[in-house]
């Protein structure tokens, strides 16, 4: 899929670039672009967060991003350019952790593709976050099991939105 860009970016080398994502999905065919930007936020579950360390199994993460792109293309049934990039390493408060951008002819498909992709990244990609707190403590976030779809694990995190419970638990 030539209209797909996937990347893992080591934070020590560069920050994720939202403008680059917008450039990639821009196209004369497209009147709609939707972008999701996930950032490190200050509080999670009442604890003050100072940063997050992201661990990734990079080769499988990139394969997963590509599979998500192909699925979005199939489900959308419309022209699509999709950009998925995730940060790796230590991020500070306010740093961008993930960028997903979708360009399509109309806004409905753009929102649909962007939502599909960010939810799939959160639930399917081999990525782990360790939150660091102001009291010096750290904790790995609970998450979604890749081997047990019916996992009753609950997850809360300090990035992005505490969104809808799309598969039985909140993120």
């Amino acid at each position: 899929m030539d209209d797909l860009h996937v990347a893992v970016v080591e934070r020590q080398l560069a920050a994720l670039n939202v403008a680059e994502a917008l450039d990639f999905v821009s196209d004369p065919r497209f009147g709609g672009i939707a972008v999701f930007v996930g950032k490190v936020r200050e509080f999670n579950l009442g604890r003050q967060v100072t940063g997050i360390s992201y661990d990734l199994f990079e080769p499988l993460a990139l394969r997963t991003f590509r599979a998500i792109g192909e699925r979005a293309q199939h489900e959308l049934g419309a022209p699509l350019k999709l950009y998925i990039a995730h940060a790796k390493g230590h991020l500070s408060l306010g740093d961008v952790a993930v960028v997903v951008a979708a360009g399509t002819p109309h806004r409905a498909e753009a929102f649909q593709a962007c939502r599909l992709a960010i939810e799939a990244v959160k639930h399917e990609a081999p990525i782990w976050k360790q939150e660091h707190y102001i009291d010096g403590d750290s904790a790995w976030s609970e998450g979604c099991s890749l081997c047990q779809p019916e996992s009753d694990a609950t997850a809360h995190d300090a990035t992005g939105e505490d969104g809808n419970a799309v598969h039985g638990h909140h993120h």
């Binding site: 996930g38 992201y54 661990d55 990734l56 199994f57 080769p59 499988l60 993460a61 394969r63 995730h86 952790a97 993930v98 960010i118 990244v121 959160k122 639930h123 399917e124 990609a125 081999p126 990525i127 782990w128 976050k129 360790q130 790995w140 976030s141 609970e142 998450g143 979604c144 099991s145 890749l146 081997c147 047990q148 996992s151 694990a153 997850a155 995190d157 990035t159 992005g160 993120h171």
Partner: protein
């Protein structure tokens, strides 16, 4: 057969090298490897919640390997705790 397993997320804390090596009988399945890894952690990394392996996936660089799959020879695997990206 000796299997090298890369560690990620909370399971990284099981070994500072970032991987473990586990002996498995020939033609073992991933389910057997899961049991052996659980025992290994119980013996060598008791601070790790043993239940974490139960909800972790095994994978190669290309795909998730479910319980019924044979443990591939001469291939480093990874054990993936529940994911929390984004």
């Amino acid at each position: 057969m000796n299997v090298r397993i890369a560690l990620y997320g909370a399971l990284r804390e099981a070994d500072p090298r970032g991987y473990l090596e586990v002996d498995v009988p020939p033609d073992s399945t991933i389910a057997t490897l899961r049991e052996l890894l659980t025992e290994h952690l119980r013996d060598h990394a008791p601070a790790i919640n043993a239940g974490l392996v139960r909800v972790s996936a095994f994978a190669s660089a290309d795909e998730i390997l479910h319980n019924h799959r044979k443990v591939p020879e001469n291939l480093e695997l990874a054990v993936l705790p529940p994911v929390s990206g984004g």
